[in-house]
Amino acid sequence: MKELEELNLPDDIRYTGDHEWAKITDDTVRIGVSDYAQDQMGDIVFVEMPAIGDRFAKGDQFGTLESVKAVSEIYMPMSGTVIAVNTTLTDAPELINQDPYEAWIIEITPADPSEYDQLLPAAAYLDLLKG
């Protein structure tokens, strides 16, 4: 597993304490899991995604990640409605291990874009990981 210093934590996205990331672009937000999450889980073999049109509140579980050793729930960093799911992950879940920021999981229309500002910037997220 990676040392904390080795983690790739881009500055142009925000993070949650549950290790999701959110990236805001115009009217939509893409959501995935952090480098730390994919590294801790090991080889990811399955991603369970919601249906397009599903609505979730911030903190709701919207899917699961399954690796060879564990299953983890993934939670909404922000409230919103699912407008796209990354179907390439259905056949190639390992893309999350290869590049967790390219391999987004869902795209939503946020119910309240200001929730983005409550998420953790990279430095704050790293501090959280350091405990």
């Binding site: 399955f46 369970e48 699961t64 399954e66 690796s67 564990a70 299953v71 729930e73």
Partner: protein, 444 residues
């Protein structure tokens, strides 16, 4: 060695470590009315010979041997068990081995279960079959829960009234306390299930039909699949007599999404009504929602074929409260026995045996018909059917009992509207003489 794992000193030390003080303190969270007080209501111990005598007496009372001709099925069937099944399944390597957590120690058991899964998947037309559930009834309850898991926010299921009443009771016991809604579907004059009411139901996660159903009637699975899928629900096909699929189109090819039922017919003695075998399978897209254990084929580091438990992340020892089921080590020997039974007969053998069951059943229908009785439902049947008698059947039933013939199951207790009618079951073990004797008593 006595099975007392902890000494008083160890118990003392552990209680001190967690600060519980005493055993009563440890169990303080258990409400008083849920605790056992006084002594256990168990009979006094018996000697070995007294115990043997006790069980001999019980066995004799149940007529599970061949001392009586039993024309009752209703979920538990009297089939011949080939000697190969007893000889192989009785081997201590199978019979006494623990659940196969260590694949390096348990290749025989794992391969046995893998072959059971493979043969059962072929018989039922499913992409995947698990390593078994407790019995047919709990398998149906698990199937409904699986449907609700897949249906996500949906809270309602429907099941046919023609499903075994005990199975429906188990489904209610599993689902009702969790707040799910259960709709029951009526029986038509044909004995088939009325699916016309599905139209008006929303929020429906799954619909279950049994085929052949409790009345022996073969449901139109293909039409049911269309109606159920149109209602945006999953189609669960349940069964108590898997032998029927030796002759009938299997549920998978008719459009079932989940198939579950009782495997007792395949090599497991009737005993005291159990243990049974819960057979359970689904189509590939639903694999990760499947309850229970799954054995898969793999290769070892040297490229040799081997078997391991797979997709274990669905299971409770990894996924805790998010597991697809809380089933633990069940009677794996029953799955293995059924695997050996299916392999002993082969697909040709199962087909011929199913045909024999069907033909003999048709013979009983015919002789009962000539004796003035009639078949209660018009739908096609396999090896069970409901009979209406020209007059009260009870005196004839009593006379047949004295000839060691148990002539069907009177339905009044299970379906009051069918009081006076009896469910008959005919298998390969039923003799022509027996069937003629029943017809003669009906005529008398």
């Amino acid at each position: 060695m006595r099975y007392l794992p902890h000494t008083p000193e160890e118990i003392e030390a552990m209680l001190a470590a967690i600060g519980a003080g005493s055993l009563d303190g440890l169990f303080a969270a258990v409400p008083a009315d849920c605790r056992m007080t006084g002594s256990w209501p168990l009979p006094a111990p018996k000697t070995e010979w007294e115990l043997n005598g006790h069980f001999r007496h019980l066995a004799a009372a149940m007529r599970i041997d061949d001392s009586a001709e039993v024309l009752v099925g209703a979920g538990c069937y009297h089939h011949h068990i080939p000697e190969t099944v007893r000889a192989l399944a009785g081997r201590s390597e199978f019979l006494t081995s623990y659940t196969p957590y260590q694949p390096e120690m348990a290749q025989g058991t794992l391969q046995g279960i893998f072959e059971y899964q493979t043969l059962a998947a072929r018989l039922l037309g499913m992409d995947v079959v698990n390593a078994s559930m407790y019995d047919g009834a709990s398998a149906l309850a698990e199937a409904m829960l699986m449907g609700l898991r897949i249906g996500k926010k949906k809270k309602r299921v429907a099941m046919a009234k023609a499903i075994h009443p005990h199975y429906r009771a188990v489904v209610r016991a599993y689902l009702k306390p969790a707040g799910f809604d259960i709709v029951e579907l009526d029986v038509l004059a044909s004995g088939r299930t009325d699916l016309s009411t599905l139209d008006g139901l929303d929020d429906l996660a799954a619909v279950a039909l049994q085929s052949p159903n409790f009345f022996g009637v073969i449901e139109d699975l293909e039409a049911a699949a269309a109606a159920i899928h149109a209602a945006d629900a999953l189609f669960v096909t349940c069964f108590t007599e898997p032998l029927a699929y030796g002759l009938l189109r299997n549920p998978g090819s008719c459009g079932a999404d989940i198939v579950c039922g009782e495997g007792q017919s395949f090599g497991i003695p009737r005993s005291f009504g159990g243990p049974g075998l819960g057979m359970f399978g689904c189509k590939a897209p639903f694999t990760r929602s499947l309850p229970g254990r799954l054995v898969g084929e793999t290769k070892d580091v040297e490229g040799r074929r081997g078997y391991v438990l797979t997709l274990a992340t669905r299971e409770q020892h990894i996924r805790r409260e998010k597991a697809t089921s809380n089933i633990c080590s069940n009677q794996g020997i029953c799955a293995l026995t059924t695997g050996i039974y299916m392999a002993s007969l082969g697909s040709t053998g199962i087909r011929r045996l199913a045909r024999l069951n069907y033909d003999k059943t048709e013979y009983l229908k015919q002789v009962l018909g000539s004796a003035g009785a009639k078949v209660a439902f018009t739908g096609p049947t396999f090896n069970e059917f409901v009979v209406e008698f020209p007059s009260d059947f009870r005196p004839a039933y009593e006379r047949l009992l004295t000839q060691n013939i148990i002539a069907g199951l009177e339905l009044g207790a299970l379906y009051p509207e069918l009081a006076g009618r009896s469910l008959f079951c005919v298998t390969e073990t039923t003799g022509k003489q027996t069937m003629d004797a029943i017809a003669a008593e009906v005529r008398a």
